[in-house]
């Protein structure tokens, strides 16, 4: 068999437009996911047992079920409750919630890695629990977990391919469209794979650059 990439060359710009959607979805999801995840992770360690349990339950469910099912629940399930979301919004919500479960666990670990003495010093300086969390613990915890959150970003770029199941025209979806027009399945998905690889590599390099900057300051 011979590979013939010329057949898909005219569709390359479509694939790149899909890649743009993929990047948009991933960036939005990692931002919302990190925001939600920090809250969930912080709730995971509060000294109020029921709150801790709810946060733990949330993380447990999110991490124990497939992202695809979570996306289906939001896009196909919620309408039966009268909530119809546009596919892209539903996709972002699904990815963000999914990501928040993983980030929440990373944040919990990061918070618990801050030495007990930091809590004690804050307390005797008069800081409340919330102020201690905000000014002392989270800034240290987040710095420690930056690499793990970066990995989460890379993971999200790859997992966002599941958004194709909601007919969102991100990279994978466009790949399927190009394949159905050109019948060049192998070539199409090789190119799609390469684009993903470029996206994840660039993201990794970018994150490493940021980390280094942060560590220097």
């Amino acid at each position: 068999m011979e590979l013939d990439f010329t057949a898909i060359a005219p569709y390359l710009h479509m694939l790149l437009t899909g890649a743009k959607i993929t990047v948009q979805a991933s960036v939005l999801s990692v931002l919302f996911g990190a925001f939600l995840g920090i809250i969930v992770g912080a709730l995971r360690v509060v000294p109020i047992a029921p709150v801790r349990s709810i946060a733990a339950g949330y993380i447990y469910i999110i991490r124990g079920t497939p992202l695809l099912i979570q996306l289906f629940l939001i896009y196909f399930g919620l309408p039966s409750l009268g909530l119809n979301l546009p596919a892209f919004i539903a996709g972002i919500i699904g990815l963000s919630i999914n990501s928040s479960g993983y980030v929440g666990e990373i944040v919990r670990g990061g918070i618990e890695a801050v030495p007990k003495g930091q809590w004690e010093a804050s307390k005797v300086l008069g800081l409340s629990y919330l102020k201690t969390m905000r000014f002392i613990i989270l800034p240290q915890a987040i710095r420690n977990m930056l690499p793990a959150i970066g990995n989460e970003f890379v993971t999200l770029i790859k997992e966002s391919s599941l958004l194709s199941t909601l007919a969102i025209t991100e990279l994978t979806m466009v790949g399927q469209q190009v394949r159905s027009v050109t019948y060049a399945s192998f070539e199409t998905f090789i190119v799609v794979g390469i684009i993903y690889l470029v996206l994840t590599s660039v993201t990794s390099l970018f994150l490493r650059f940021i980390e280094r900057k942060w560590n220097v300051s």
């Binding site: 003495g117 300086l125 240290q140």
Partner: protein, 278 residues
């Protein structure tokens, strides 16, 4: 030990006012009973040193007083206010008592100046300018004004502890507790910290100092407490405790300490970093 009946209303007794009153304090960790019926009174302006073998409950006593530990039973009063319950907020307690830890516990992500200004700004409501002005005066007092922009990990252990003292003073507490402030320091850095503490003594601050620096305790204290097995075994004027202790337990402790004195200074793991794992 009873606090004066007339003391509540009369201002004439202010100089003899109790800064710390501990009554019948019990504290245990699970099955381990750590403090057993501790009663103790520290007058305003008094400097009390606490000595005793490791594990005798010295830290726990200090931690109960600044409410880092919940007590099992008994009562703790700071300037006449009962503070052992949950009635007071952390900031109420912080206005009364400051605490210095063996491991400094500076905030590694903040500059020296920000370490000092965080609580005054967030808790006392000072403006940034006011807080920084106070902080610079305090840094000057501990001889570190040129380190205002440094991060804790750029400081020596002795400098860290001096910053920690300045940070505690920035809240203008009425009482300062020191839990082995020089035990984590390299021997050559102990002096600079003791000097700062001695300066506080001269300023009339009410202090409780847990220490193994016997010479220092003898020099600066109005009273020395010897603790063992969760009890205050003996207390009195430093001269009396160090030269003619009455209780055999105290005698044995001091003799052993004297015998190991030279050894202890050179051995033992000494650590200098400002905060664990920063």
């Amino acid at each position: 030990m009873e606090i004066s009946v007339e003391g509540n209303t009369s201002d004439s007794s202010v100089s003899h006012q109790s800064a710390i009153d501990v009554k019948g304090l019990y504290k245990s960790f699970g099955r381990l009973s750590v403090l057993e019926d501790i009663s103790l009174s520290v007058k305003e302006g008094e400097v009390v040193s606490v000595i005793g073998p490791s594990g005798s409950g010295k830290s726990t006593l200090a931690r109960c007083i600044c409410r880092l530990e919940r007590i099992d039973s008994g009562e703790i009063y700071l300037y006449g206010q009962r503070t052992d319950g949950q009635k007071h907020s952390n900031s109420d307690i912080a206005r009364l008592v400051g605490m210095i830890f063996q491991q400094f516990n500076l905030f590694p992500h903040l500059s020296v100046l920000d370490n000092l200004t965080l609580s005054p700004m967030r808790i006392l409501g000072l403006s940034r300018e006011e807080a920084q002005e106070n902080a610079m005066a305090l840094l000057k007092r501990v001889g570190l004004e040129e380190k205002q922009n440094a991060r804790p990990n750029q400081l020596s252990g002795g400098q860290c502890q001096r910053v920690a003292i300045a940070r505690a003073l920035a809240m203008s507490p009425k009482i300062m507790l020191f839990d082995e402030p020089t035990s984590a320091l390299d021997p050559e850095l102990v002096g600079e910290v003791l000097e700062v503490i001695a300066g506080l003594v001269d300023s009339g601050m009410t202090m409780m100092i847990i220490t193994h620096e016997m010479m220092f305790a003898k020099e600066v204290s109005d009273r020395v407490l010897f603790m063992a097995d969760g009890n205050i075994v003996e207390q009195g004027h430093p001269k009396k405790i160090f030269t003619s202790p009455e209780v055999p337990r105290t005698q044995i402790f001091l003799q052993r300490l004297l015998a190991h004195f030279g050894k202890e200074l050179t051995e033992g793991e000494k650590r200098g970093e400002c905060s664990h794992g920063a």
